[in-house]
């Protein structure tokens, strides 16, 4: 499974006075098993891009190949695309609606037309994969759970569809530090267990540096730069010019004169110890 986006353009309200280009000639590739981080400030076109990847928005021009199938071509079944590509929206807990957690998680698999046994199995698997105890939460109303648990349930609802590509739009927005960590850990866990492609949008540069194999930077609908976290976060000036920042730890190390692009706390500790020894 791989994703290949070529010269993707999207124009909102085409032909109207309010016409606005939301995506301009976006091209990138994602290989099997990668975690990709997409960063860009608010209104840069990230969400628009994500919605193209599972066919919720139609491209004005360009192609999106997912597993060799160009989903921008007419006649491609949307159900097939959504089977392959799961999208978790921002604040996904606001889409919970069922009377029990198990039923809510089952909504997606049910729409895929699976058998009862398959659905039940997937629901159990997904709920435990996001770190919840099936026996404890399955029959409870999703509305009486805590904020972090609600989000976990909402993510489980998409994970239960077993998408080969899992896209998450700011999965940690508005969470407290502990839940924030839990959710990231859960995404990693799902990624490792299922071997999917994970695409992650975040405003938190630290998260991206820690999680991603590849980083894509978007500004006003254009792809600014792309590469490994090492490559992208070595371009501090460029990131600042598009309203983004370096991860705090990278910034800190730059400030105290470590010129390598340091991305994690452990790495930083090592470098600082070296510096002191000198």
């Amino acid at each position: 499974m791989s994703i290949k986006v070529t010269k993707l353009n999207h124009i909102y309200d085409k032909g109207m006075p309010t016409e606005q280009a939301a995506l301009v000639d976006i091209s990138f590739e994602v290989n099997d098993g990668e975690i990709v981080g997409i960063i860009g400030h608010t209104g840069s076109g990230k969400s628009t891009l994500l919605q193209h990847l599972n066919g919720l928005l139609k491209a004005t021009s360009g192609s999106i190949e997912i597993g060799g199938v160009d989903i921008t071509q007419p006649g491609v079944s949307m159900v097939d695309i959504r089977k392959k590509v799961g999208l978790v929206f921002q604040y996904p807990e606001y889409q919970l609606f069922e009377v029990s957690v198990a039923k809510d998680v089952a909504y997606g698999p049910k729409n895929l037309g699976l058998t009862e046994e398959e659905i039940d199995e997937r629901v159990r698997e997904a709920i435990s994969l996001v770190g919840l105890d099936y026996d404890k939460v399955a029959d409870r109303s999703p509305f009486e759970l805590s904020g972090g648990q609600k989000r976990a349930v909402a993510i489980a609802g998409v994970v239960a569809m077993k998408p080969e590509v899992l896209i998450l739009d700011e999965p940690t927005a508005g969470l407290d530090p502990k839940t924030h960590k839990d959710v990231l850990g859960m995404i990693k866990e799902v990624h490792e267990r299922t071997g999917n492609i994970t695409i992650l949008v975040s405003h938190n540069m630290g998260d991206i540096a820690e999680m991603a194999d590849k980083v894509i930077v978007i500004d006003s609908g254009k792809l600014v730069t792309m590469g490994t976290p090492q490559e992208v976060f070595s371009k501090g000036e460029l990131l600042k010019s598009v309203g983004l920042d370096l991860p705090p730890i990278t910034e800190f190390c730059n400030e105290i004169g470590i010129n390598d692009t340091v991305l994690s706390l452990d790495e930083a500790v090592g470098k600082i110890v070296d510096l002191i020894k000198e």
Partner: protein, 266 residues
């Protein structure tokens, strides 16, 4: 899709019509509606149409924008037209099976259609050329004499303001939830009526939850800013009738007189 609804929408501008006192505009619109029902011949409708056209031209609201608001009521329009044309009894001019078209039927159907179109355009001119906030201010002031009899005019105006304010928010919310459920394989477009109605449950439940959450947040925010109802509340923009408001009112009175005389004469 949902965003295309223009009924009750405001078209920003600073034309003379926009600047008129909202109270004058509300009363003029009410009178216009009454006039439409006084009129019952083509000359009368021509006069009403001409006045409405003049208002539209002065307001500088593009015609295409106004016409978009007519689209949702096209169905009602055809329905009333068909009902009138086939149901009214009188001198039969065409018949096919059990369907008869009468001379009187045609007359009433055509008049009703014109009346409805003018009614919709006329009343949408009020909302197109008046900021929602000044509109509700105007309503509050017009209803305030009733406060003496215990009528909650301020509360009603406040409810309307809030309702208007949250229409776009809720539309956006609906769009977001629909997309999220579509991403989970929901299908809103195919199937029979029952299946489609059922498919909406995953949208409606979260939408209601959101609406309550938004309402609660707003109530809290209002209380935090010491909102305590209309008593003794002063306003930032005091409404004062200006010369142009009196002129507009005089014109409206002349228009009403013409319509009444014209209807009596023919």
């Amino acid at each position: 899709m949902i965003r295309d609804i223009t009924l009750g929408q405001y078209y920003p501008g600073d034309s003379l019509i926009h600047k008129l006192d909202p109270r004058v505009k509300i009363i003029a619109t009410l009178l216009f509606i009454i006039e439409l029902f006084i009129v019952d011949n083509f000359i009368g409708f021509a006069i009403c149409g001409a006045v409405l056209a003049a208002v539209i031209i002065v307001s500088k609201v593009p015609l295409s924008f106004i016409m978009r608001g007519l689209k949702p009521i096209l169905f009602i329009l055809f329905f009333t037209f068909a009902l009138n044309i086939f149901m009214v009894k009188g001198e039969v001019i065409w018949s096919w099976g059990i369907l008869h078209i009468t001379k009187e039927g045609v007359r009433i159907a055509v008049f009703m259609a014109i009346r409805l179109v003018l009614l919709i355009i006329g009343s949408s001119m009020l909302t197109l050329a008046t900021k929602p906030l000044s509109l509700t201010d105007g309503i509050e002031r017009l209803l305030s004499p009733l406060a003496r009899f215990g009528f909650p005019s301020h509360e009603i105006a406040m409810m309307m303001t809030i309702a208007l304010r949250f229409i776009p928010t809720l539309l956006e919310e609906t769009d977001k939830i629909m997309k999220a459920q579509q991403a989970r394989g929901a299908d809103f477009e195919t199937g029979g009526l029952m299946k489609r109605a059922k498919a909406l449950i995953p949208v409606l439940v979260p939408l209601f939850v959101s609406a309550f959450r938004i309402a609660q947040d707003l109530a809290m925010a209002m209380e935090a800013r010491c909102y305590r109802g209309g008593d003794g509340r002063t306003r930032m923009h005091e409404m004062k009738l200006k010369k142009r408001d009196f002129i507009a009112f005089a014109l409206e009175a002349i228009f009403l007189a013409i319509v009444i005389i014209e209807a009596r004469m023919f």
